[in-house]
C-alpha cells in the first residue's frame, strides 16, 4: 500500500514543520528570545518579561495564525469537493463579500462597540445561505448555479458595502486593512472563540470524508453509492462557512490559503479526503505561521499584513495552476 506509507511520511513532515514554525515564531521578534528560554517559559511560565512576551504577545498570534491557516485550508478542500472544481476557494460562494458588508454595517451603526468581527462572521454565513437558497432547484442543488449565485450575491453585497464606505470616509483605512487580512492584537479569549467554532465544524466535516470522495465522482454516482447528496452538500457548506467565518473573525480576509493549500496536499498525497482533510489542516497551519513570520519581519518597512504575503505567494501559484489545468484540458501533456 504505497499511499499509506507515503502519507505517514507526509503527516510527520507536516507536523514537524508546524512545530518548527511555531517555535521559530516565539523566538523571533523585536526582542529575540533564545530557544532554551522559550522552552523553559512555555513549560513553566513566570512573571518575567520573556514569559509575558511568549505567552501574552507571541503565542496567541502564532496560534491564531496556525488555526486560521488550517481552517481556511480545510474549508477550501471541502468547497473544492462540493463544487467538484479544484480551483474553488472558501470565499467563492459570497462569503467574503458577506463578511465585508457585515463588518461595514457594524462599523457604521455600532461604532462604539467593537463588533466588526462578529458582524463579518454573521455576514459571511448569511451570504452563503442566500446563495444556497437561490441555487436550490428541483431534486439536487446545482453546484454551478451556486457558484454563479455566489458571484451575483457577492457583487451586490460589495456594491452596498462600497456605498456605505463612501458615506463614511474616515473608516476606509480600517476596512481596507481588514480586507487584506492580517493577524494582530489577538488575545487568548478571541483565540478560544475560534478554537470552539473550528472544533465543532471539523468534527462535523470529518465523518463525511468518505462522502466527499464519492462526490468527486459526481452527484449522480454519489447518489448511487448511498450518499444523501443534498443533505451532505448542505451540512458541508454550512460547516465550511463556519470554518471560514471563524478564520475571518480573527484575521479578516486572508486570500489564497484555502485555494492553494488543498491543491499542494493533493499533489503530495492524492485526493482521498480521509488524508487530505487532516493533512490540509496541518500544512495550512504551518504555511500561515511561516507567512506570519515573514510578514512581521519585513526589513525597512516593518510589519505588513500577512494577507499581502499569502497573496504575493499564492497569486502566481494560482495562475500557474490555471494555465496548467487549461493546457491539460486541451490535451497537452501534463
Amino acid at each position: 500500500m504505497p499511499r499509506t506509507g507515503k502519507s505517514i511520511v507526509n503527516f510527520t513532515a507536516a507536523f514537524s514543520v508546524l512545530l518548527f514554525a511555531l517555535l521559530l515564531g516565539v523566538m523571533h521578534g523585536p526582542t529575540p528570545i533564545p530557544l532554551r528560554t522559550v522552552i523553559d517559559r512555555i513549560i513553566s511560565p513566570n512573571a518575567s518579561i520573556d514569559s509575558v512576551i511568549v505567552w501574552d504577545i507571541r503565542l496567541p498570534e502564532l496560534v491564531a495564525a496556525a488555526l486560521v491557516g488550517g481552517g481556511l485550508a480545510v474549508a477550501g478542500a471541502v468547497m473544492q469537493a462540493l463544487l467538484k472544481n479544484p480551483l474553488a476557494d472558501p470565499y467563492i460562494v459570497g462569503a467574503s463579500a458577506g463578511a465585508g458588508l457585515g463588518a461595514t454595517l457594524m462599523q457604521e451603526f455600532l461604532p462604539f462597540v467593537n463588533m466588526m468581527a462578529p458582524g463579518a462572521f454573521v455576514g459571511a454565513l448569511a451570504a452563503v445561505f442566500l446563495s444556497y437558497l437561490l441555487s436550490r432547484g428541483r431534486g439536487t442543488t446545482s453546484m454551478l448555479t451556486l457558484i454563479l449565485a455566489g458571484y451575483a450575491v457577492g457583487v451586490i453585497l460589495t456594491s452596498v458595502m462600497t456605498f456605505l464606505m463612501l458615506l463614511n470616509r474616515q473608516d476606509l483605512t480600517t476596512i481596507f486593512a481588514w480586507e487584506i487580512g492580517g493577524i494582530n492584537g489577538v488575545t487568548w479569549s478571541r483565540v478560544a472563540v475560534v478554537v470552539v467554532l473550528m472544533t465543532v465544524s471539523l468534527l462535523v466535516i470529518w465523518p463525511y470524508a468518505h462522502d466527499m470522495n464519492a462526490l468527486l465522482l459526481g452527484e449522480e454516482q454519489a447518489h448511487h453509492l448511498g450518499v444523501p447528496v443534498r443533505r451532505v452538500q448542505f451540512v458541508l457548506l454550512v460547516s465550511a462557512s463556519l470554518l471560514t467565518g471563524a478564520a475571518v473573525y480573527i484575521s479578516g480576509l486572508i486570500g489564497f490559503v484555502g485555494l492553494v493549500i488543498p491543491h499542494v496536499v493533493r499533489r503530495l498525497n492524492g485526493p482521498n479526503h480521509r488524508q487530505l482533510i487532516p493533512l490540509a489542516f496541518l500544512i495550512g497551519a504551518a504555511f500561515l505561521t511561516l507567512a506570519e513570520l515573514v510578514a512581521t519581519s519585513m526589513p525597512v518597512i516593518g510589519p505588513i499584513p500577512v494577507g499581502l504575503v499569502t497573496a504575493f505567494l499564492g497569486g502566481p501559484y494560482f495562475l500557474y495552476l490555471l494555465v496548467r489545468q487549461n493546457r491539460w484540458k486541451q490535451g497537452w501533456s501534463r
Binding site: P2, W206, P207, H210, H223, H224, L225, G226, P228, G270
Partner: protein, 267 residues
C-alpha cells in the same frame, strides 16, 4: 397475490414521468422482474431507457406510481438503504480528481459505514473483500493507478467492481459496453452473466447492440417514445415485427450456431 409479490426483485406500478419542458411523457409503465433474471432494455435513442433506470434508482421522482425493489418503495428508503438494494454502473463518469482505482472501488462499501466507522481512521471495506472483487473484475493490477488515466474498458470494470462492492441484489447498467472494443465488451458481459448465473444478481441493462443482446439477456423490454411496448423472452421478442418497425430496419433473425441463442443482424 402474496406469493407473486415474493417473486419480484423489481416491480413498477403505473410509473409515469414528464421531462421538464418536453411535451412527450413517459409511461405509465407497469412491469416486474423476478429474482435472478437478466433483463435487457432496448429501443431507439431517446426512447426513455435511461429515464427508466434513473426512476428506478430514485435519482428522479416519478409523477405517479411507485417503484418497488425487494418489496420496498425506493422513495421511502434512506440513501444508504437504497444503495444496499440497488447498484448502478453509469454510462460515463467525469471526474477531474485523481482518486485511485482502489479508492474508487472502496466507495462501494460506503453504504455500510456506521458512525463509529466514520469517526475512526478506517477504510470502508475489508482488505480481503476488496482484493477478491478487484481480482474478479481484473483490475487488481491497476489498483494504484489514477481512475482518470484508465482506458474505457478498465474504467468500466472499475465501476463494475465498485457496484459489486455494494453487494446489492439489483444491478442497473446503462449501456455498459458503449465505447468498448468487442473483447472488453464480451469480458464485461460474461462477468455480469456469471454473477447472475451464480444467483447473486438480478440485472436490468439498457443496451443497443441487437446482435449480442440475446446472447446474454433472458428477457427483453422494448421501449419506444417513453412507452414500454413489448416484453418477453429474447427468442420471442427479437424476431417480432415490432422491432423492425421501431428501428425502421429489416433485421435478419439468426440463431447462434453454438449456443442456439437468438440474434439480429443488419440486413
Amino acid at each position: 397475490m402474496v406469493s407473486i409479490m415474493q417473486d419480484a426483485m423489481l416491480e413498477l406500478h403505473d410509473v409515469s414521468y414528464h421531462w421538464p419542458g418536453a411535451s412527450q411523457t413517459f409511461g405509465p409503465i407497469s412491469q416486474r422482474i423476478a429474482p435472478g433474471r437478466f433483463v435487457a432494455l432496448i429501443g431507439p435513442n431517446g426512447a426513455g431507457k435511461s429515464t427508466l433506470l434513473k426512476l428506478i434508482a430514485a435519482l428522479w421522482r416519478p409523477d405517479t406510481g411507485e417503484v418497488i425493489v425487494n418489496h420496498q418503495n425506493v422513495l421511502t428508503l434512506t440513501a444508504a438503504q437504497r444503495a444496499r438494494q440497488i447498484s448502478f454502473v453509469p454510462q460515463t463518469l467525469d471526474t477531474s480528481f485523481d482518486l485511485t482505482v482502489r479508492e474508487v472501488v472502496e466507495l462501494g462499501g460506503l453504504n455500510r459505514l456506521s458512525w463509529r466507522d466514520r469517526l475512526q481512521f478506517r477504510p470502508s471495506v475489508s482488505p480481503s473483500q476488496l482484493e477478491s472483487t478487484l481480482r474478479r473484475t481484473e483490475v487488481w493490477h491497476l489498483q494504484d493507478r489514477a481512475f482518470t488515466t484508465l482506458s474505457g474498458g478498465e474504467a468500466k470494470r472499475t465501476l463494475l467492481a465498485c457496484a459489486l462492492m455494494q453487494e446489492a441484489p439489483l444491478l442497473l447498467l446503462d449501456e455498459p459496453t458503449a465505447h468498448l472494443d468487442p473483447g472488453h465488451a464480451m469480458k464485461f458481459l460474461d462477468l455480469v452473466r456469471a454473477k447472475v448465473d451464480a444467483g447473486e444478481l438480478t440485472v436490468l441493462m439498457a443496451y443497443h447492440d441487437l446482435t449480442t443482446v440475446g446472447l446474454y439477456a433472458d428477457e427483453l423490454w422494448v421501449m419506444d417514445q417513453g412507452q414500454l411496448i413489448l416484453t418477453g423472452a429474447a427468442a420471442d421478442v427479437l424476431p417480432h415485427p415490432m422491432i423492425r418497425q421501431i428501428y425502421d430496419v429489416d433485421f435478419i433473425p439468426l440463431v447462434h450456431p453454438r449456443t442456439k441463442r437468438p440474434m439480429l443482424i443488419f440486413p
